[in-house]
């Protein structure tokens, strides 16, 4: 596979390490009333879509960017690649 890195252009997938669902960005609030339940769901519950999937890849043999790659799990077509940092900021994560 080839991942079109937003900063570095097309790179071979072998330069990357895969983590999993991009929902791992949405880490729950530790002070929420049901924090244990939220963390449990955050860590263990995943959708398994046949189709578009947003997932985290780490450019370990490159610039060490974490990326959010939108990949079709049936065809492996990659339709979007974003810096995970940008995605996290958009989703309201900050300090």
């Amino acid at each position: 596979m080839i991942i079109n890195h937003p900063l570095l252009g097309p790179r071979d997938a072998s330069e990357f390490v895969y983590l999993g669902d991009a929902s791992l960005i949405d880490r729950p609030d530790w002070q929420a009333k049901d924090a244990q339940q939220q963390f449990h769901d955050y860590l263990y519950l995943r959708d398994n879509p046949a189709g578009a999937h947003r997932e985290l890849w780490f450019h370990e043999q490159g610039d060490r960017s974490w990326l959010v790659v939108t990949r079709d799990t049936i065809t492996h077509e990659i339709t979007n690649v974003e810096l995970a940092r940008d995605v996290a900021l958009q989703r309201g994560r900050g300090r």
Binding site: M1, L24, R93
Partner: protein, 982 residues
């Protein structure tokens, strides 16, 4: 023996005669021959024995689809079994031998299997050899394995070199037949970067084996001209002897190039190169493969595919027989008769399953329309055939044509489903091709020459245009649309002798019917039950025959029955090629510390720690056992001073205004208030609450920290921290960089460590206990100005430091430390002594931080802060991880002082048997403590902290040893930690 079956013509260099041996017999061929064509030219018919029944077999095809002619090439470690003679380029000195027979090939003792055939039908071993159960592994399986099979490996290491590489192109063209050459010309003239690959050593494909003209010249000559033009262009890479074996995601193709397989000696060059080709577009011009027809005894030597028979005559000037019969269901078979007749062969008969003769038969040939072959005779070579009309015809070669199947394999590697076309009675590529792929020519079902040329051109034109190139308008070379009408006839339905479908796996029509009868109705089940379509040829000539028989049993059509899934590789790829250079020590990089050379000079014994080589111990003169060295090193550290290279521990430089806050969130214990100039032990959890790693982190400045990780987790901790930084808290001002290899770091441990370092560190730095206490750190200079970092941390429990210098000074530093330490009797110590010292102190390492243990298990629950957010703290509070009867890290001492503990032993109460139900924990680390004079261990045991003093059993069934141990504190030496603070 001379070349009795050699005729005039062909694409051979007769000025270069090549000698080779087959089964010890010396033979001769010419440059341009394959092993198969040279064997045919020499009149050799019998080349092997079949997989199961040990039936005599001959050459069946002229290409990579060959099921029968598998030979072992070369000798010893260079030997390669299951090489197809049909694609083995002849070279001078080639040595080949046949496979799968006991005794000489002609008188194979295992041929008795053929008479046992009624007992050896599909799946026989599942049914026949069931009882007694124990016999399967000991008797049945070894016997079956030794009597069935293909070639054997030499059992020796492969001395050849294999390599890997990467290529990029705009348009990859797969196959250099008429479609491929035409596509390459069009694509290359448009200016696109083109790679043209073909498995053959001579480009041209069927142009080299047919007599049809192209642009007024012979097909072979036209191909030569096209190749010459392509070779002259800078934007074209020609790759003969290269098989594109797989179509992968995003236009990436796997290619195996045979670089020196056609030479007697590799001369230090790679034998094969595995390429990964990155293409923007690909045009599959893989042609078509002829298939057989199943009829009684259709597997005898001399029975061959019709297209191959004329290929041998036309291209290789080798006649497979003197008197040849043709059995066909299509027009193409007739071309074999006319071509062979033109070479002067005697055409005995043309047998066509259809009613109407499409072409004129050569003079003297019997023509039998609407007839078929029902049986054959001739044990080691065909002697005669019997027809459905009862006549028997004498012949020594039968050319069989069951029609041509487009080579759709690569179109299906991403799950495209091929579609059936009635007019050619074959499958063509479906609608869901791999992205960027186009198909042209016979692979696309365009079976005539003119159509192949046209499609090649059109597809290349379209691909070039898509990529923004300006395709040149070129005139298509003139060629004919030859007669290719065919009929869907696959199998002679008669209750006669066995009719083979898959020659390589000895699968007959009866086996397919039996499989259906026994309930294996999906094609995938059929394949696995009968082995139809498995092994080196993957049923290229056989699959459709099997499908037709299966469809008949099911009462369904062939397209309804469907094909099995095509997967890479298209033809076999040697494991050696997949491994490339990654063999032995080159399998992964070896990382050496800067003190490696110095350690070598001291005769250190090394141990692999991940990719690193670390000194394990340093034997001195007179020491004959490793324990002597390790005990001495450990004692010297406790009594005086020792030095250990700790460079391999991960070092992560952390900077930024929010660096302290960041550390506070990734460590479970507090870091926000760590003063500048101090080091703190940090415990890192995974989000699930388990311990991930530990280490010390030093605050060198307000916004500058240096973290250490364990050697094993250096990479994964760094990855995790980057995840936290970029994905969880992108607003924090913090930056990370790995500095593991930038700093050479040495532990200087023992009561004399301060004395030693006073001679190293420049005098303006005060090392007194007051000025530089336990857990202090700072930037200093050594040996008159060399920058350095000093940390007062202790893994051994002694007064100790770690001192780091830029890696380029590492070698000089270790030598200087040893020199100045001489007056204190300094010793270098290795990882074994390091381990002894830390077990004596009860410090956990990877053995204890195994991914299944919590801070509580380790007795570190107070290090998980409840007052802040940090990775893992919420889920570490789950009730099951905090059970009263949970595990605790404890120390263990043998009740009998002289007994040795063993790591991995499991604990049970003394009054209970050592069974899984009674298991209470396990021993993680053991060492002989020279300080205490007996064996000591660390381990996890249920409710350990309440059980100090209790005696339990430590059972080690693996080593057959059970001993009694006493539960003690995990801190064996200096539990109050006074020494490290001294």
């Amino acid at each position: 023996m001379s070349q009795t079956h050699r005729i005039d013509g062909g694409l051979l260099d007769r000025s270069r005669a090549l000698r080779f041996t087959f089964n010890g017999t010396s033979l001769e061929g010419y440059a341009g021959d394959t092993l198969a064509s040279a064997l045919i030219a020499n009149g050799v018919k019998l080349v092997g024995r079949s997989f199961k029944y040990h039936r005599p077999r001959g050459i069946f095809t002229a290409g990579s689809e060959e099921p029968n002619a598998l030979v072992t090439l070369r000798r010893d470690g260079h030997g390669e079994p299951n090489t197809r003679a049909t694609v083995t380029e002849l070279f001078d000195g080639l040595v080949a031998s046949s496979q799968n027979h006991r005794g000489p090939l002609r008188y194979d003792l295992m041929a008795v299997n053929d008479y046992l055939a009624p007992f050896l039908s599909a799946g026989f071993y599942y049914k026949t050899f069931m009882w007694p159960k124990a016999f399967w592994e000991k008797l049945y399986e070894p016997v079956i394995r030794s009597s069935a099979g293909l070639g054997r490996l030499s059992g020796k290491a492969d001395p050849d070199i294999y390599d890997k590489g990467f290529l990029h192109c705009d348009i990859l063209i797969i196959g250099a037949g008429p479609a491929g050459l035409c596509a390459a010309l069009s694509a290359a003239r448009s200016g696109a970067r083109v790679i043209l690959a073909d498995e053959d050593f001579r480009f041209g494909g069927r142009l080299n084996t047919e007599t049809m003209a192209v642009a007024g010249t012979s097909g072979a000559d036209w191909a030569q001209q096209a190749v010459a033009e392509l070779a002259s262009m800078d934007n074209v890479r020609l790759m003969p002897r290269t098989t594109i074996y797989g179509a992968y995601d995003h236009g990436i193709y796997g290619a195996l190039e045979r670089r020196t397989d056609h030479l007697a000696e590799s001369a230090g060059k790679p034998r094969q190169v595995l390429w990964r080709i990155y293409s923007k577009r690909a045009i599959l011009c893989a042609g078509a493969t002829e298939r057989s027809i199943a009829f009684g005894n259709n597997d005898r030597p001399g029975i061959m595919l019709a297209g191959s028979v004329r290929a041998y005559a036309n291209r290789w000037a080798a006649l497979p027989g003197k008197r040849i019969a043709v059995f066909t269901n299509n027009d193409d078979g007739w071309r074999t008769a006319s071509d062979l007749a033109a070479h002067g062969a005697d055409i005995a008969a043309i047998v066509d399953t259809r009613d109407r003769a499409p072409l004129e038969a050569p003079a003297g040939a019997t023509v039998a329309m609407g007839a078929y072959v029902t049986d054959t005779k001739g044990r080691h070579g065909l002697k005669s055939i019997t027809l459905s009309n009862g006549t028997t015809i004498e012949c020594d070669c039968l050319a069989v044509s069951g029609g041509w199947s487009p080579n759709v394999h690569l179109t299906c590697h991403q799950r495209d489903k091929p579609q059936w076309r009635d007019d050619i009675a074959g499958f063509v590529p479906g609608p869901d091709l791999p992205v960027g792929m186009r198909v042209a020519g016979a692979a696309n079902g365009a079976l005539t020459l003119a159509a192949a040329l046209r499609e090649g051109h059109e597809q290349a034109h379209a691909a070039a245009e898509e990529l923004g190139f300006k395709p040149a308008s070129i005139a298509l070379p003139a060629a004919e649309d030859e007669a290719v009408e065919t009929s869907a006839f696959f199998h002679v339905k008669a209750d006669g002798p066995r009719a083979w479908i898959d020659l390589q796996n000895d699968v007959t029509a009866k086996d397919v019917k039996l499989s259906h009868q026994e309930g294996f109705r999906s094609v995938e089940h059929l394949k696995r039950y009968t082995t139809l379509g498995m092994a080196t040829d993957q049923g290229k000539t056989a699959n459709l025959l099997g499908l037709s028989v299966m469809a008949e049993c099911n009462g369904r059509s062939i397209p309804e029955t469907g094909t099995t899934i095509f997967r890479p590789p298209y033809t076999p790829v040697a494991i050696g090629a997949l491994a490339g250079r990654s063999r032995g020590k080159a399998f992964r990089p070896t990382r050496l510390t800067t003190s490696h050379k110095s350690a070598e000079e001291r005769d250190a014994v090394f141990v692999e720690a991940g990719q690193w080589l670390r000194a394990q111990w340093f034997p001195e003169k007179g020491e004959t056992h490793w324990r002597e060295s390790v005990d001495r090193e450990a004692v010297r550290v406790r009594e005086s001073v020792g030095i250990c290279d700790v460079t391999t521990l991960g070092k992560i430089d952390i900077q930024g205004r929010d660096a302290a806050e960041f550390l506070n969130r990734v460590y479970s214990n507090g870091f926000a208030k760590l003063p500048v100039g101090k080091v703190r032990y940090g415990l890192m959890l995974r989000e699930d609450g388990m311990v991930m790693d530990d280490g010390t982190t030093a605050r060198l400045g307000e916004n500058h920290f240096v973290m250490t990780t364990t050697t094993a987790n250096a990479v994964s901790v760094f990855r995790h921290l980057e995840f936290c930084r970029q994905c969880l808290w992108p607003g924090l001002d913090v930056h990370l960089i790995s500095a593991t290899e930038q700093w050479a770091q040495f532990a200087v441990a023992g009561p004399h460590s301060r004395d030693l370092l006073r001679k190293v560190v420049d005098p303006e730095f005060d090392l007194s206990n007051e000025a530089f206490p336990f857990m202090a750190c700072g930037e200093v200079t050594v040996f008159d100005g060399t920058p350095s970092r000093l940390f007062r941390i202790s893994f051994s429990g002694e007064l100790a430091y770690e001192i780091a210098v830029p890696a380029r000074y590492g070698d000089a530093m270790i030598r200087a430390l040893m020199d100045v330490g001489e007056e204190f009797g300094v010793v270098p110590y290795g990882t074994e002594a390091l381990s002894v010292l830390r077990i004596e102190k009860g410090h956990p390492v990877a053995n204890e931080l195994c991914g299944q243990t919590t801070a509580r298990d380790l007795g570190l629950e107070r290090m998980v802060s409840k007052k802040k957010d940090c990775i893992g703290n919420t889920l570490s509070e789950r009730s099951h991880l905090n059970r009263e009867d949970g595990l605790a890290l404890m120390g263990f001492a043998p009740v009998m002082r002289n007994e040795h503990l063993s790591a991995g032993a499991h604990f049970t109460s003394r009054d209970k048997p050592a069974t899984t139900e009674n298991d209470e924990g396990w021993m993680t680390s053991v060492a002989y403590s020279p300080t205490l004079g007996h064996s000591i261990g660390l381990g996890f045991i249920a409710r350990g902290r309440d059980r100090v003093g209790e005696i339990v059993q430590a059972a080690d069934p693996l080593r057959g040893k059970t001993i009694e141990v006493r539960i003690v504190s995990p801190h064996f030496v200096d539990p109050e930690g006074e020494r490290q603070r001294a």
